[in-house]
């Protein structure tokens, strides 16, 4: 395989009339990466992956997927990518084994259907008609169809939307089995925990623009973000003069100190409290912003755009 990025996109734009669904996206995804496009509904995630899958044509910019312009993807190119669609396709009258083997037969080097069915955890249901499966089981069939061709690159478009929390976790395990095969995976999701659980890098997409690309734990400068130390000035501390705490704020008797060195601040405060005869700082907490906090801040009010971008 070539050494360049598996997916490379520059200035990718898509507009529907006056509505700009994608407003110029730059992105490179390397071989073996699990990359998540994270964003609220209507942000442009599906538009973006469907352009990369060759389902939609871009309005502007450049796109290369496995070295090929997705608008010109031929059968041989299609054989190298796997697609797990957002909608669950019903082959109601076929059994799970039959559907997986049938779709596998379109590819030059399919994985054995029985093995793929085992991997998605449908061993017990292999002889059941797809029409009789639950929603979660149908999603697993869909995942199996995306992987059965043993593609180099797999697109998963909101693989767990509509599943209950247990079903989502099970499906993550299924996806992890496949990502362990060192495939490149592009995933879209509006669940933060899903991006964090599965992806090595996350691109946050808001209103058609990619606002940040980073590993989940660094998202929004989270690693370097200021921690907050809070405690209550109660009891013997009520009248005591505070030590020098830059940026500290008071709200009633609660003191909040934003700091890059929370350990030092807590040490300083505990010495101060001890000096005033209080061995414990009342109501002490040390918090860092959660990924959720950072994400919500990034997405902002614009994130809740609901203006009918065609799905």
């Amino acid at each position: 395989m070539s050494n360049g990025p598996v997916v490379e996109v520059t200035g990718l734009r898509k507009s529907y009339g006056a509505l700009e669904a994608l407003a110029g996206i730059d992105l490179a995804i390397e071989p073996g990466e699990v990359f998540a496009l994270l964003g609220p509904n209507g942000a442009g995630k599906t538009t973006c992956v469907e352009i990369l899958e060759g389902y939609r044509r871009r309005t502007g910019g450049e796109a290369s997927v496995l070295g090929v312009d997705p608008d010109r993807g031929e059968r041989r190119w299609r054989a190298r990518i796997g697609i797990v669609l957002q909608t669950t396709t019903a082959f109601d009258h076929l059994t799970v084994d039959e559907v997986v083997a049938h779709v596998g037969s379109f590819y030059p080097n399919p994985l054995p259907a029985r093995r793929v069915v085992d991997m998605v955890g449908l061993t017990e249901k292999r002889s059941s008609r797809c029409g009789s499966l639950s929603g979660g089981q149908k999603r697993r069939v869909e995942v199996a169809l995306g992987f059965v061709g043993d593609p180099e690159l797999i697109f998963l478009d909101e693989p767990t939307t509509g599943l209950d929390p247990g079903g989502r976790r099970q499906l993550w395990e299924v996806v992890e089995q496949f990502t362990a095969l060192k495939k490149t995976v592009v995933l879209t999701t509006h669940y933060l925990d899903e991006a964090e659980a599965l992806a090595g890098r996350v691109g946050v997409i808001v209103a058609g623009a990619l606002v940040e690309v980073a590993p989940p734990r660094e998202l929004g400068g989270r690693e370097r973000a200021l921690a907050r130390v809070t405690f209550a000035r109660r009891g013997r501390l009520a009248g005591a003069a505070l030590p020098d705490l830059p940026g500290a704020t008071l709200e009633g008797d609660m003191v909040t100190v934003p700091t890059g060195t929370p350990t030092a601040i807590v040490g300083l405060l505990s010495a101060w409290a001890a000096a005033h005869g209080e061995p414990e700082l009342p109501a002490l907490t040390v918090t860092r912003p959660s990924l959720e906090d950072i994400y919500l801040e990034m997405v902002g009010p614009a994130g809740h755009r609901d203006d009918g971008v065609p799905q």
């Binding site: 389902y55 697609i83 669609l85 909608t87 076929l94 379109f106 030059p108 994985l111 054995p112 065609p310």
Partner: protein, 279 residues
């Protein structure tokens, strides 16, 4: 890993894939009991109803010719309507359903050649239509005294009319999906042309007895020509004179052939793999 899976590295051929699609289509058909039941039973029900209503009615021939058993008049019409039902109506409905549930989108995201999808559909309807026609001929002969053609030439005409009718109506069914807004509406949008054509193409009523303008409208579409060509195989020559002013087999072939070509072109132009995705 790929090599361990036993693949050849070669893309499967169109022939292999078309065969695979045909098998899957047939499986899906047979596993849908209500579809099987109505496809094979409805035409037989028509046969029963017509036979009961018209009993032993006969069509008077010219002087010196024995009258024609009316059953022999209507069975080719019912067979032709059955072909249109399992090809045009069935394909228009099933393809638009598959369009709206995302099956076509799913298939078009795989390396399956698009032709293989259509060849699979054709393979399925050819098999189903053949069985349906064989059942009607068998039931007609065994229970209703329908007289089958006795010479190879009449059978051959029946054969090519059947093939051209199947091809033209299948292609038109696929093209017609463009007029169907969504899967739920499919049945409602497909029924009118199919029903109306049965009335004006010599299926439910004698073609010679409907008003001239209706004949003219019916004569535009393939069902009339299919019924006419099949009727040639089951009725004496004087009937063709009386009913159509002569059998005119070359024109039957020309009309069905033209509709096959036109249907194919329309299907290619109108068919959408990826409905409503803004591509």
């Amino acid at each position: 890993m790929s090599a361990a899976a036993g693949g050849t590295g070669q893309l499967p051929s169109l022939l292999q894939l078309s065969w695979g699609r045909t098998v899957v289509e047939l499986k899906q058909f047979w596993r849908n009991p209500s579809q099987v039941f109505f496809t094979f039973l409805l035409p037989v029900l028509f046969l029963v109803i017509f036979s009961s209503v018209f009993g032993n009615e006969e069509v008077e021939g010219p002087p010196g010719e024995p009258p024609l058993n009316f059953k022999n008049y209507f069975i080719p019409g019912i067979i032709a309507a059955g072909v249109m039902s399992t090809t045009f109506a069935n394909l228009a409905v099933s393809v638009s359903m598959e369009q709206s549930v995302g099956m076509l989108k799913r298939l078009s995201g795989t390396p399956l050649p698009r032709e293989a999808y259509f060849i699979g559909k054709m393979g399925m309807v050819v098999a189903v239509t053949s069985i349906q026609t064989a059942i009607m001929l068998g039931v007609g002969k065994a229970f209703f005294g329908v007289e089958l053609p006795t010479d190879a030439f009449h059978w051959a005409v029946f054969g090519w009319v059947f093939v051209l009718g199947t091809v033209s109506c299948s292609a038109l069914g696929i093209a017609y999906t463009r007029l169907i807004p969504n899967g739920d509406a499919a049945s409602a949008v497909v029924q009118p042309p199919y029903l109306i054509l049965q009335f004006i193409s010599g299926v439910f009523f004698r073609y010679a007895e409907i008003p001239g303008w209706m004949q003219a409208v019916g004569a535009v579409f393939p069902l009339k020509w299919m019924a006419q060509g099949m009727r040639y195989a089951f009725t004496p020559d004087w009937l063709g004179q009386e009913e159509y002013g002569g059998w005119d087999l070359p024109q039957v072939a020309m009309m069905l052939g033209a509709w096959s070509v036109a249907g194919f072109v329309l299907a290619v132009v109108f068919f959408r793999w990826n409905r409503g995705s803004g591509s």
